[in-house]
Symmetry: C2
Subunit: 154 residues, 2 copies
């Protein structure tokens, strides 16, 4: 079943790649970094309000942050790992491990996990149950780390 | 009524600013540019599939793109226009017109319009009605342009 899902998600990634064909490689690198950094900012907001408690909990902000993470996670960001984006292009740097491009089915699986976990976080954020948000947040973080550990160079 | 809405949205922006206080100014500039460029990429996907027809229509992709635009538009991106981000910081460039920071109530109004239009686009995208998506897309574009014309330098 897992491989079926991976293939389906992989298909979606491929379809996404086609739609991104018009985006030149350097711009693809910039856009994927834009998407991930915007996700990270929103993860940070939830972390501050629900995990650390360093910022007072605000339901509207947490919900908006979770919706943003889920939307970006499911936006077809995989399409921005197109041919020619395996390494730095001029002054556009990438931390991607070129091994990613040899393991697209695994990447599709990891990306699918991220999308699923992010959707759950958005659902829990809408419910306002902070203990459930905390758990769902942790699960999203694991899916980020799973891909970073495998395919992001230090 | 408009001023009431603007004040409410302005309040949300201010609250967002507080939550972003930990983000240093240069990073705020990078993050707001990340959010806007990721929105623009997703606008481009809808444009290609629904307006130009240069890429075949794909319901899943258009819906995902519209959801991403709506989520970012409603993510509290205004919080990233904090004090100290009125001009370039080192090699971090910004096109923002410093006048924006003197007109936060107007900016809040424009941002609220963008969020509303983007939510409508997401609803229409979910319906799959291309003629309605086309109209809603145009309305989002107008809200982008309204702010660019007033507060983005060339």
């Amino acid at each position: 079943m897992k491989s079926v899902i991976a293939t389906l998600v992989g298909g979606a990634l491929l379809a996404g790649s086609l739609s991104a064909a018009a985006v030149e490689p350097a711009k693809q690198i910039e856009l994927r970094q834009a998407g991930f950094s915007y996700m990270a900012w929103n993860m940070g907001k939830i972390k501050a309000q629900v995990i650390d408690g360093s910022v007072e909990y605000n339901q509207q902000q947490v919900e908006a942050a979770a919706n943003t993470i889920a939307a970006i996670a499911n936006s077809g960001i995989g399409a921005l790992f197109g041919p020619g984006t395996e390494q730095d292009i001029g002054d556009v740097h990438t931390k991607v491990d070129p091994a990613l491009f040899e393991n697209m089915q695994d990447v599709a699986q990891l990306a699918g996990n991220m999308g699923t976990a992010a959707n759950t976080l958005a659902e829990k954020a809408a419910s306002g149950d902070q203990s459930e948000i905390r758990v769902a947040f942790g699960e999203v973080g694991k899916t980020c780390k799973a891909c970073h550990d495998k395919y992001r160079l230090d």
